[in-house]
C-alpha cells in the first residue's frame, strides 16, 4: 500500500496530490476531539504518514522533477501542519469553554463575612480633638484615675468643707490606716496640678480621661470622659480662650461657624469663670447645631485662679492663663447625635456598630475629621 502510494505519488499527476491534500484537510476538520486529531496527525505527518511519504518521494526524484514538485509537496505539508495546529487550538477553546461553563457559581450569594471592627465614638472624638489641638501646639497630658484629695480639690482652691466638694459627689476609696483616703478623680483638673508642679510655663496641654461622679440618669453616668485644656504663660487671656474654643468647635463640628455664648459662672479654680453655650435647635427631640434659638451648655472655663498657680509653684504675678473642661462623651453625643449617655458604656454591639467608626477612619485635619 505504502509502496503503491509512493509509486503513485512519484508518478502521479497534480490532481492526485490535490486529492491527497483535500482528504487530509477533511480528516483534520472532522476530528471531533484531541484523540482523533492526534490519530489524524500520525496518519498524515507521522513517520509513515501519507504526507511524510509524499515528502520522501522528493529524494528519489530528478533535480528537474524535484524542482517542479518540491514546492507543491512542501506547500501541502505546510498547509496540513497549519490546519492541524488550528484545529488543535479550536478544540482546546471548545474544551476550555465547556470546563468554564461547568465551573459557574451563583454570584448573587452574599460575600464571606469579614468581622467588621469598630472604634468607639469616644476614642474617635478624642482623636479628632487631638488632631485639632496638636495643630495649635497643645500636648496631651494624662494622669491617674485614683487621685489624692490634695490634687483633686485642695490645690484647685477647693479647701475641705468647700461647698463645691459636695457638688462633685465624689467616690472615695476606703480610708487608709492614717485616716487619709484617696478618691476617684471627679474631673481631669488634677492633671493641671500635676503638670504645673512638674513643668515651668509656657504650658499648653489638653487632658483627656475618665472621671467619676456619683450620678446616674439618662445624661449622667458614674463614669464619663472629660477633656480639658490648660494654657499658662505670661500673656494669654480670655480673648485667646474665646478664640480657641470658637476655632475648636468650628473645626470639631465641621460647620462654617458655631455661635457661642459666654456666661459668667463660678468655679473655685478659675477667676473670672464662664460657662459656654452653643446655639442650637432642640425642636423635634434632636439637637441641631448652628441653627435655632436654643442654647446648649457645653463647657466651663476661665482664667486660672492666682491661688492655683501659686499652689502649683509658680508666681501668679508673672504667670497667667486659662483652662477649660468639657465632656468628651457629650461632644460625641452632640456631633454624632447619640441620645443616651448610658449607652456609651453598655457594650451593646448594635449600638457600637451604629455609632462606631471603621479602623481606617483616622481623623486628620487634611482629610477632614470625619467622613
Amino acid at each position: 500500500m505504502r509502496v503503491q502510494t509512493r509509486e503513485a505519488i512519484r508518478s502521479c499527476k497534480m490532481q492526485d496530490l490535490s486529492k491527497l491534500e483535500n482528504e487530509a484537510l477533511a480528516r483534520i476538520a472532522d476530528a471531533g476531539d484531541e484523540a482523533a486529531l492526534e490519530a489524524a496527525r500520525v496518519d498524515l505527518l507521522g513517520k509513515k504518514g501519507s504526507i511524510s511519504e509524499a515528502l520522501k518521494t522528493l529524494g528519489t526524484m530528478t533535480p528537474d522533477e524535484r524542482k517542479a514538485k518540491g514546492p507543491i509537496i512542501n506547500g501541502m505539508r505546510d498547509r496540513v501542519t497549519a490546519a492541524l495546529a488550528a484545529r488543535k487550538g479550536a478544540l482546546g477553546d471548545v474544551a476550555l469553554e465547556a470546563k468554564l461553563k461547568a465551573e459557574r457559581v451563583d454570584v448573587t450569594l452574599p460575600v464571606r463575612p469579614e468581622m467588621q471592627g469598630r472604634i468607639h465614638p469616644v476614642s474617635q472624638i478624642l482623636d479628632e480633638a487631638t488632631a485639632i489641638f496638636a495643630d495649635m501646639g497643645f500636648a496631651i497630658a494624662e494622669g491617674p484615675d485614683i487621685e489624692t484629695d490634695d490634687n483633686n480639690f485642695t490645690k484647685l482652691n477647693i479647701p475641705p468643707e468647700h461647698p463645691a466638694r459636695q457638688m462633685h459627689d465624689t467616690f472615695y476609696l476606703k480610708a487608709k490606716a492614717d485616716g487619709t483616703r484617696h478618691l476617684l478623680r471627679t474631673h481631669t483638673s488634677p492633671v493641671q496640678v500635676r503638670t504645673m508642679l512638674a513643668q515651668k510655663p509656657p504650658i499648653r496641654i489638653i487632658v483627656p480621661g475618665r472621671v467619676y461622679r456619683m450620678d446616674s440618669d439618662q445624661t449622667h453616668t458614674p463614669m464619663f470622659h472629660q477633656i480639658e485644656g490648660l494654657v499658662i504663660d505670661e500673656n494669654s487671656h480670655m480673648g485667646h480662650l474665646k478664640w480657641i474654643l470658637e476655632e475648636f468647635c468650628r473645626a470639631l463640628f465641621e460647620v462654617p461657624k458655631v455661635e457661642m455664648r459666654f456666661r459668667p459662672s463660678h468655679f473655685p479654680f478659675t477667676e473670672p469663670s464662664a460657662e459656654v453655650d452653643i446655639r442650637c435647635d432642640r425642636s423635634g427631640g434632636e439637637v441641631k447645631l448652628g441653627q435655632g434659638n436654643d442654647w446648649l451648655e457645653i463647657l466651663g472655663c476661665g482664667m486660672v485662679h492666682p491661688k492655683v498657680i501659686e499652689m502649683c509653684g509658680h508666681d501668679p504675678a508673672k504667670y497667667q492663663g486659662f483652662a477649660w473642661g468639657m465632656g468628651l462623651d457629650r461632644l460625641a453625643m452632640l456631633k454624632y447625635g447619640a441620645p443616651d449617655l448610658r449607652a456609651f458604656f453598655e457594650g451593646d454591639m448594635r449600638w457600637l456598630k451604629h455609632y462606631g467608626f471603621a479602623a481606617l477612619d483616622m481623623p486628620s485635619l487634611a482629610g477632614g475629621l470625619s467622613r
Binding site: P113, E142, D145, F171, R210, H266, G347, D348
Partner: protein, 797 residues
C-alpha cells in the same frame, strides 16, 4: 432661687420687659432656668357679661346664654348650675387652648344648639380644682378686660440657677442690685427702720461654746414682741409666697419666710411663752435629739450647732427650727431670732441629717454678717404691722464676724486677664453699683454681703461679668511658627495603635466601668481591701477592676441575652494594681466569642488560644515590638484555661501579655458558654522603641540564588514545646537558614502514645552561590542533629 417680676420691682426701678431682664440675668452670671408667665397662659381669656341665660330646648341641665364679650354678643351653651343672666364670668373663644385641660376649644353644636365659646371654671383655668361652677367675677370687672389683669397674676415667675459663691442673690434685693449694676434700672433705696422699744426683753440670750467652736454661732440677736395676734397673713403676702411655691402658714411664719427670700436673711420665731430660761446656742450633746418643724425627729451629734433653753434642744441652728416652741394661731408673745451660723458647720449638719431647708441654703453660702440686727428690725416692723403688738429692746449675744477687707483694683488687669479694654471710670461705676466702695488709692472695700471676693482677680470678674463677656474680643492665640511637631507620647501612640489594630482585625471597641463587683474582681485575681470604694454607687460596682475582662464579659453576656453570641470586643483602659495614684496599667484587652457570623463559606475565626495569641502579636507588632523577641510561656493566670493559655514575657518578671481560652468557671459566672478567647496586653510593660537618628530603613539585600525548601517530620515527646524544635532548626545554620515554619502537628494513630509528630519546612537561602546537592544534604543533617540534640527528636519513619 425663684421670684416674681413684681417682687423684683419692689427693689428695682425699671421699665425693662421680663425678656430683657431674663436675658440680662443670664448674661451677668445669674443664669435663668425658666421664666413662667401665667399671664401668657391666661391671655386669651377676657371678662364677659352674661346678657341672658335660657334653658336648653333639648337638655334640662344646659343653658343657652348670650354673652357680651365687649366686642360682640355670642351664643354659648353652658352646663354650669350658676350660669345666669346678669353675672360676669371668664370667657374663652373657640380656638383657645384651655390651660386646665390642654384641649383646644372648638366651635360646636351641643344637642343641636350652636355654641361659640365657653364660660370657664377655676379648674379649666388651671387655678384650682374647683369645677362645681363657672368663675363669678365681681360686678365692677370691666367687660372685655384680660382676665389675668382682674386676677392679678400678671406677674411672671423667674427662676435662676445660683452658683454657690453668691449668697447675696439668695435674696431678691441682691438680684436687683446686680441688675442695677448692669444698668437695667435703679436699685430703690432701702428705708431705714427704727424700732422704739416699749419694754425690756425678758428673755436672756447666751452663746455657750468653747474656743474651738466659737465660730459656730458668733452672734445671736433676739427681741420679743408681745401682744401679737397671729393668723393667716394678708392676701398680698400669701400671694407672694404662693407665687414662688411656698405654702403660707401664719402671719408670723410667713414674715420670716418673706425676709429670708427677700433679703437672704433667715430668721426664726418662737412662741415666747413656751421658752424656759435662757435661750442659747451651743453644740449638741451626743444622744440629744430634736423634733424639727418638718415633723421628724433627728438624732444629733456633738458637731452640730443647736438652739436650746432650759428644757433642752429647741432647733438646729441655721438648718431648721423645732416643733415644740414654734408659733401657733394662739401665740400672743413672739420671740424673733436673728443669728449668724457658720457656713461649714451648717452645711455639715444639713448634710448629715439630710435636711435641705431655705435657711441651710442661705447660711451654708454665708449670709451677710452685718444684716443680723437690721433683718431683725425689719421682721419686727412687719410683725407689728401685720399682727400688732409691742416690741422689746434688742438683745445681742456675741458679735458679728468682722469680714471688713479691701482689695486692690487695677483697671489694667481687666485687659491683661480678659483682653477687654475698659475705661477705669466705667469699671469703678460698676463696682460702686455692686456695693464696692473706693477706699484710698486703688483700694476698694468689699461689701459685707460678698464673702466670695478676696483678690484683684475677683474684682476683674465683677467688672467683666457686668460689662459683658460678649464684649471680649476673640483673639487668635499665637501659634507655633513651624509645622506643628508631633505631640503624642510613646504610650499615647501605643494606645492608638492597639485600638486601631484590633478594630482592623474585626474587633469592636467597648468602654466599660472602671469598677466592678468585688465578686467579679475575685475571679480575676481579686483586689486588696484598699481598692474597694467606700461609697460605691451600687453594691455591684464596688471594686476598682484588676482586669478589663470582667466588663467585657458582662457586655458579652448582655449581647448574648439579646441573641448576639458571636462577637469580638476589646477595650483599652485602666486596670488597677494598687490603691496609690499611678498604681494602674493600661491594658489592651479583648475577648472573642464564637467564630463570627454563620455563613455558607468558612467561619472568619475560631475563639481559641491561637486567635488570642495572634491578636496579642498584632498589638505588639503595631507597638513596634518584634513578636519574636518575647518569650512564650504556658503560665497564664487562673482565669485562663490551664492547658490552653500562655504568657508573653521579656525576662522572668516582665509580663507583656496573657492570652488563651478563658476558664470555664469564669465563663459560668457570666452565664456564658465557651470557648472564649481572651487576651490582655499591658501596654506600659512593652519595651520602649529605640530612638533612631533617621527614619532610613536598613539596606535590603536580596539573593539572586535559588532558595531550597526541605521538609522534616520529627517525632518528639508530646510535652516538648514546638518552639524548641523551631528554635533548634533555625539556629542549626544561621547563615543559610532563612525561615522555619510548622506545617503539621499530629498525635494519634501511627505515633507512639506520649509522643507527637511535628512537621517543619526549612527554607535555605544561599547568598553567594547555588547550593549543591552535597551542601543541601549537609545542611539537612545539621538540622536533624540540632533538633535531635535539643529535643530528643527522631525523624518520623
Amino acid at each position: 432661687m425663684k421670684f416674681t417680676l413684681s417682687w423684683l420691682k419692689d427693689h428695682l426701678d425699671t421699665d425693662a420687659p421680663v425678656e430683657k431682664i431674663a436675658d440680662t440675668l443670664t448674661h451677668i452670671g445669674l443664669e435663668v432656668e425658666s421664666v413662667h408667665d401665667k399671664a401668657k397662659d391666661l391671655a386669651p381669656f377676657t371678662v364677659a357679661y352674661v346678657v341672658s341665660a335660657e334653658k336648653h330646648p333639648n337638655a334640662d341641665k344646659l343653658r343657652v346664654c348670650i354673652v357680651d364679650t365687649g366686642k360682640e354678643k355670642l351664643q354659648v351653651v353652658c352646663g354650669a348650675p350658676n350660669a345666669r343672666a346678669g353675672m360676669k364670668g371668664v370667657f374663652a373663644h373657640a380656638g383657645t387652648t384651655i390651660p386646665g385641660t390642654g384641649v383646644e376649644l372648638k366651635k360646636s353644636a351641643i344637642r343641636g344648639v350652636e355654641s361659640n365659646g365657653m364660660l370657664c371654671s377655676e379648674r379649666e383655668m388651671g387655678l384650682s380644682q374647683e369645677h362645681d361652677g363657672i368663675i363669678e367675677l365681681p360686678d365692677d370687672a370691666p367687660i372685655g378686660k384680660p382676665f389675668a389683669e382682674v386676677l392679678g397674676t400678671n406677674d411672671p415667675l423667674i427662676e435662676i440657677k445660683l452658683t454657690p459663691n453668691r449668697p447675696d442673690c439668695t435674696g431678691v434685693r441682691g438680684v436687683a442690685r446686680d441688675l442695677a449694676a448692669a444698668n437695667l434700672g435703679r436699685l430703690k433705696p432701702d428705708a431705714a427702720i427704727k424700732i422704739v422699744p416699749r419694754f425690756k426683753n425678758p428673755i436672756a440670750i447666751g452663746l455657750h461654746f468653747d474656743d474651738a467652736a466659737k465660730n459656730a454661732c458668733p452672734v445671736f440677736a433676739g427681741r420679743m414682741v408681745k401682744g401679737v395676734k397671729n393668723g393667716p397673713s394678708p392676701a398680698w403676702l400669701q400671694q407672694r409666697l404662693k407665687a414662688v411655691g411656698l405654702r403660707p402658714i401664719s402671719a408670723l411664719v410667713d414674715i420670716t419666710n418673706l425676709i429670708s427670700l427677700d433679703r437672704a436673711r433667715p430668721l426664726h420665731v418662737y412662741d415666747a411663752d413656751k421658752l424656759k430660761g435662757e435661750i442659747h446656742a451651743r453644740l449638741a450633746k451626743k444622744g440629744e435629739s430634736v423634733l424639727a418643724l418638718d415633723g421628724k425627729t433627728y438624732e444629733l451629734d456633738a458637731e452640730m450647732c443647736v438652739i436650746a433653753d432650759d428644757n433642752g434642744v429647741l432647733g438646729l441652728g441655721g438648718v431648721m427650727g423645732g416643733e415644740t416652741t414654734g408659733v401657733t394661731e394662739t401665740t400672743t408673745n413672739v420671740f424673733i431670732e436673728s443669728a449668724y451660723f457658720d457656713p461649714v458647720r451648717t452645711a455639715r449638719t444639713g448634710r448629715e441629717l439630710g435636711i435641705n431647708s431655705d435657711a441651710r441654703y442661705r447660711f451654708e453660702r454665708g449670709v451677710d454678717p452685718e444684716y443680723v440686727t437690721e433683718g431683725l428690725d425689719l421682721a419686727t416692723k412687719l410683725v407689728m404691722d401685720l399682727c400688732g403688738g409691742e416690741p422689746s429692746d434688742l438683745t445681742v449675744a456675741g458679735r458679728a464676724p468682722d469680714t471688713k477687707r479691701d482689695v486692690t483694683f487695677d483697671p489694667g488687669l481687666v485687659e491683661k486677664l480678659c483682653g477687654l479694654k475698659i475705661h477705669a471710670g466705667e469699671a469703678m461705676t460698676i463696682l460702686d453699683r455692686l456695693g464696692f466702695r473706693a477706699v484710698v488709692g486703688t483700694r476698694v472695700a468689699v461689701p459685707s454681703w460678698r464673702p466670695d471676693v478676696h483678690g484683684p482677680a475677683d474684682l476683674v470678674e465683677e467688672v467683666v461679668r457686668i460689662a459683658g463677656l460678649d464684649k471680649i474680643p476673640s483673639t487668635p492665640l499665637p501659634r507655633p511658627s513651624t509645622v506643628p511637631l508631633p505631640v503624642l507620647t510613646p504610650m499615647q501612640k501605643r494606645v492608638r495603635a492597639a485600638k486601631r489594630t484590633l478594630a482592623s482585625r474585626g474587633m469592636t471597641e467597648a468602654m466599660t466601668w472602671s469598677f466592678v463587683a468585688k465578686a467579679q474582681a475575685e475571679l480575676f485575681g481579686g483586689v486588696p481591701e484598699a481598692l474597694l470604694l467606700a461609697n460605691p454607687i451600687s453594691a455591684d460596682l464596688d471594686a476598682m477592676r484588676p482586669s478589663v475582662l470582667p466588663g467585657l464579659l458582662a457586655a458579652a453576656g448582655r449581647n448574648a441575652a439579646r441573641g448576639q453570641k458571636d462577637l469580638g470586643l476589646f477595650e483599652v483602659g485602666p486596670q488597677f494594681t494598687g490603691p496609690e495614684p499611678g498604681e494602674q496599667l493600661t491594658a489592651a484587652s479583648g475577648i472573642r466569642v464564637g467564630s463570627g457570623p454563620r455563613n455558607w463559606g468558612k467561619q472568619p475565626w475560631n475563639a481559641d488560644v491561637f486567635q488570642a495569641k495572634a491578636d496579642v502579636m498584632a498589638i505588639l507588632e503595631a507597638c513596634g515590638v518584634a513578636p519574636d523577641s518575647a518569650q512564650v510561656t504556658a503560665d497564664a493566670p487562673a482565669w485562663y484555661h490551664p492547658g490552653r493559655s500562655g504568657a508573653l514575657r521579656l525576662g522572668p518578671k516582665n509580663v507583656l501579655a496573657y492570652f488563651g481560652e478563658l476558664h470555664p468557671r469564669v465563663l459560668a459566672a457570666y452565664d456564658l458558654t465557651g470557648p472564649i478567647a481572651a487576651f490582655e496586653v499591658m501596654l506600659e510593660t512593652l519595651p520602649a522603641q529605640k530612638a533612631k537618628p533617621t527614619k532610613t530603613k536598613s539596606k535590603l539585600e536580596l539573593s539572586e540564588y535559588q532558595a531550597v525548601e526541605r521538609d522534616f517530620a520529627f517525632v518528639i515527646d508530646a510535652k516538648v514545646p514546638a518552639t524548641d524544635v523551631i528554635k533548634a532548626a533555625a539556629t542549626a545554620d544561621r547563615a543559610l537558614i532563612e525561615s522555619v515554619t510548622v506545617f503539621d502537628v499530629y498525635e494519634g494513630q501511627g505515633v507512639d502514645p506520649g509522643k507527637k509528630s511535628i512537621a517543619i519546612s526549612v527554607r535555605l537561602q544561599p547568598k553567594d552561590r547555588t547550593l549543591t546537592e552535597a551542601e543541601i544534604e549537609a545542611a539537612m543533617s545539621k538540622i536533624k542533629g540540632a533538633v535531635a540534640k535539643a529535643t530528643g527528636a527522631t525523624l518520623r519513619a
